[in-house]
């Protein structure tokens, strides 16, 4: 993000700083990868639909090349003992990284966005209850996670708005 800001606001002057802050908000609250969202937004503002398409292509081309090379290497060499033992050590690290990111998201859901929390202690009880119910349903019934996300969204929206 700081890199994008430098390019877009300071070097090329496509957006003002205020517009850039809006961009970050929108990129985070619309679905899809944040970097792609940001690229599309800048592209549209600077050059319409064509700009959006071009900046998105620019955004994914480096990863496309690098990742396809890595994917090819992975498929070719993953049976080698040395690669196997490397992957064996990578897996727990990756699970730990996801756990760490997950804990961060849980924290934001429980304590973040203080303007919408419904008591003075700071913890968002609605979110805690929704979280507990969702975990229970996910583990017992194993539904499609997208239903859970939308379900909590709708129930949360009704609760937050009725509290107000």
């Amino acid at each position: 993000m700081p890199l994008i800001q430098n390019q877009v606001v300071e070097i090329n002057g496509w957006l003002t700083m205020d517009e850039f802050i809006d961009l970050v908000t929108i990129a985070e609250m619309t679905p899809g990868p944040i970097a792609i969202n940001a690229a599309t937004f800048v592209g549209t503002r600077a050059g319409g639909l064509l700009g959006a398409v071009i900046s998105t292509i620019g955004c994914i081309s480096p990863s496309l090349i690098i990742v396809i090379t890595l994917a090819w290497l992975y498929c070719k060499y993953k049976e080698m003992p040395i690669i196997q033992s490397m992957l064996a050590c990578l897996r727990p690290a990756v699970v730990a990284l996801i756990a760490s990111a997950g804990l961060g998201i849980v924290k934001v859901a429980f304590w973040g966005n203080s303007d919408l929390t419904d008591n003075s202690f700071g913890i968002n009880l609605t979110a805690v209850i929704l979280f507990a119910i969702s975990i229970f349903i996910l583990r017992k019934l194993k539904p499609n996670p997208i239903y859970i996300i939308f379900g909590t969204g709708v129930i949360g929206m009704i609760t937050y708005l009725s509290v107000r």
Binding site: T25, I26, E28, M29, P31, G32, P33, I34, I36, T40, R45, C59, I60, S63, V67, I68, L70, A71, W72, Y74, I82, S85, M86, A88, C89, L90, R91, P92, A93, V94, V95, A96, L97, I98, S100, A101, L103, I105, V106, A109, F110, N113, L116, T126, A127, L130, F131, I135, L138, P145, I148, I149, F150, G151, G153, V154, G156, T159, Y160, L161
Partner: protein, 195 residues
């Protein structure tokens, strides 16, 4: 698996839905990809999915895009990768082209804010669920080395806030070391159980 247009269509459709309905960064979309491709379609093993995430994290660019390239490539080669990339980038492209035209209206929309706030709890639950099942399958192996790596990587990432790429490289190096230690021990007749 037959490599006909239906396969590509499923790849495209799956990633399109995932990208269209997930808010937030790569860590939100990855658990959903896991439940789609590992649990629902059975196209990828859980271990392979974790490898995919490791590669996606260490490569430059958006993690979700990288992961979708890897999954597409793994299932159907180069054209599979193209199908999943298209599926991943089209939703943001379409949605943002529309939103950037009248974004000031949306920014102050209370309804949307409350919806997103509610969804945070659901997203947190989905991720927590995936973490629980992944940690459980990790502990099932009863491999002390993996548990040590898990705990130290968690401390490094969450408490010390060390860069993700450094953590991944360090654990890859420890994998290399155990490989050579194991090799030497094999000659001595002693062997640690590594899975």
């Amino acid at each position: 698996m037959k490599k006909d247009y239906k396969l590509y269509l499923t790849l495209f459709k799956s990633t399109f839905y995932l990208s269209a309905f997930t808010f937030g960064g790569g860590y939100v979309i990855l658990p959903l990809m896991k439940s789609k491709f590992v649990d629902e379609l059975n196209w990828i093993e859980e271990k392979e999915m974790i490898d995919v995430i490791a590669i996606a994290q260490t490569s430059p660019g958006a993690m979700a895009v990288n992961a979708s390239i890897l999954i597409g490539y793994k299932i159907a080669g180069l054209s599979g990768a193209l199908a999943t990339v298209l599926g991943t980038i089209l939703p943001p492209l379409i949605i943002l082209s529309v939103i950037s035209l009248f974004y000031t209206v949306l920014k102050q929309n209370l309804l949307l804010n409350a919806l997103l706030k509610g969804m945070q709890a659901g997203v947190a639950a989905v991720i927590a669920n995936v973490v629980i099942s992944m940690t459980r399958s990790l502990c099932k192996d009863k491999n002390i080395l993996s548990i040590v790596i898990f705990v130290s990587a968690f401390i490094a990432a969450y408490i010390l806030k060390i860069n993700v790429v450094i953590i991944i490289l360090l654990s890859a190096v420890s994998g290399l070391i155990t490989h050579f230690v194991q090799k030497r021990n094999k000659r001595g007749g002693k062997q640690y159980n590594l899975s």
